[in-house]
């Protein structure tokens, strides 16, 4: 559990730092000022995203979570990521304050992209499952010990 918290926290700390650096650089290039609340908002967003990721990883520690197909877990969690990001961007101010429609439009594009990417993922997963069944069956047929 400790390792789980450490790993996901480190990842999100890295992502937060990278976002701050890139955003600050872009604002500097555009000769615009970065507001302190924007850093706070981004920090809040990454904290919530980290919490969602942590819960997602925690789910795999339970038999119930492991029983579910990862496809289902993706359907449950990806909209959460999108909603948190959308909420942050809509409250971000410059450069998104004058273009909420653009933000919504990009979010819809992301949502549609996610929905359409599910089909090939599901197809690939089914194919992989069949491959694993075949490999396992072949392997077990040649085991030195009796299967009980």
């Amino acid at each position: 559990m400790k390792q789980l918290v450490k790993q996901s926290a480190l990842r999100f700390a890295g992502l937060y730092t990278a976002t701050i650096v890139v955003y600050s650089f872009c604002m500097f290039r555009a000769d615009a000022r970065v507001q302190s609340y924007q850093y706070l908002l981004l920090f809040g967003m990454f904290c919530v995203l980290w919490l969602i990721t942590f819960l997602r990883a925690l789910l795999d520690r339970f038999q119930w979570g492991l029983r579910q197909h990862y496809f289902l877990k993706r359907i449950l969690f990806v909209p959460l990521y999108l909603a948190v990001t959308l909420f942050t961007l809509l409250n971000f101010g410059y450069p998104f304050e004058n273009s909420p429609d653009d933000v919504l439009f990009i979010t819809v594009i992301f949502a549609l992209g996610f929905i359409f990417s599910l089909f090939p993922t599901l197809y690939a997963a089914k194919r992989q499952e069949k491959q694993f069944d075949r490999l396992l069956h072949n392997y077990q047929d040649h085991l030195p010990m009796d299967k009980k």
Binding site: D60, Q63, L66, R67, H69, Y70, K73, R74, A125, Q128, E129, F132, D133, L135, L136, N138, Y139, Q140, H142, L143, P144, M145, D146, K147, K148
Partner: protein, 147 residues
């Protein structure tokens, strides 16, 4: 063949002696089977229990103690995981994490999981996750077959 079991609280470790006139093929087979296909562990009531390796679902190391899980019981063994890896017939058990050695014969299903991980379902219905670090090698092992 006559089988006799004796208990002696003074004996430091469990020992098994086979008294025979000569070592026949049958005796040799029995000794080999006991040596390579069975494991002695301590059950819930501190009794020594002998189980066949094929009945073990997996071995797990928890706080420097190694436990063997079968469908109906949990036994504490005096082996380390690496010793068990050497003791078990080659290809029958596979290391799926730093702390777990799974019996491939007891796997019912192998399924892909997000992040290039795998999960396996054992014959008792229990699911175990294989981390990305071990998943690739496990898949390779299944593909290449028993070595």
């Amino acid at each position: 063949m006559k089988i006799q079991l004796k208990t002696d609280p003074q004996v430091p470790t469990d020992e098994l002696h086979i008294h025979c006139k000569e070592i026949t093929a049958e005796i040799r087979e029995l000794a080999e089977k006991l040596q390579t296909q069975c494991i002695v562990g301590r059950g819930g009531n501190d009794d020594s229990v002998v189980v066949e390796l094929s009945a073990v679902l997996y071995f797990e190391s928890v706080e420097k103690k190694v436990f063997a899980y079968t469908a109906s019981q949990v036994l504490e063994t005096h082996y380390r995981l690496y010793e068990l890896e050497e003791k078990c017939p080659p290809g029958s058990f596979y290391r799926i994490s730093k702390t777990t050695l799974v019996n491939i014969g007891q796997i019912r299903l192998v399924r892909p999981e997000e992040g290039r991980r795998l999960k396996i379902q054992l014959r008792n219905g229990e699911w175990i996750l294989i981390s990305r670090l071990y998943a690739k090698a496990f898949k390779k092992q299944l593909k290449e077959g028993r070595r």
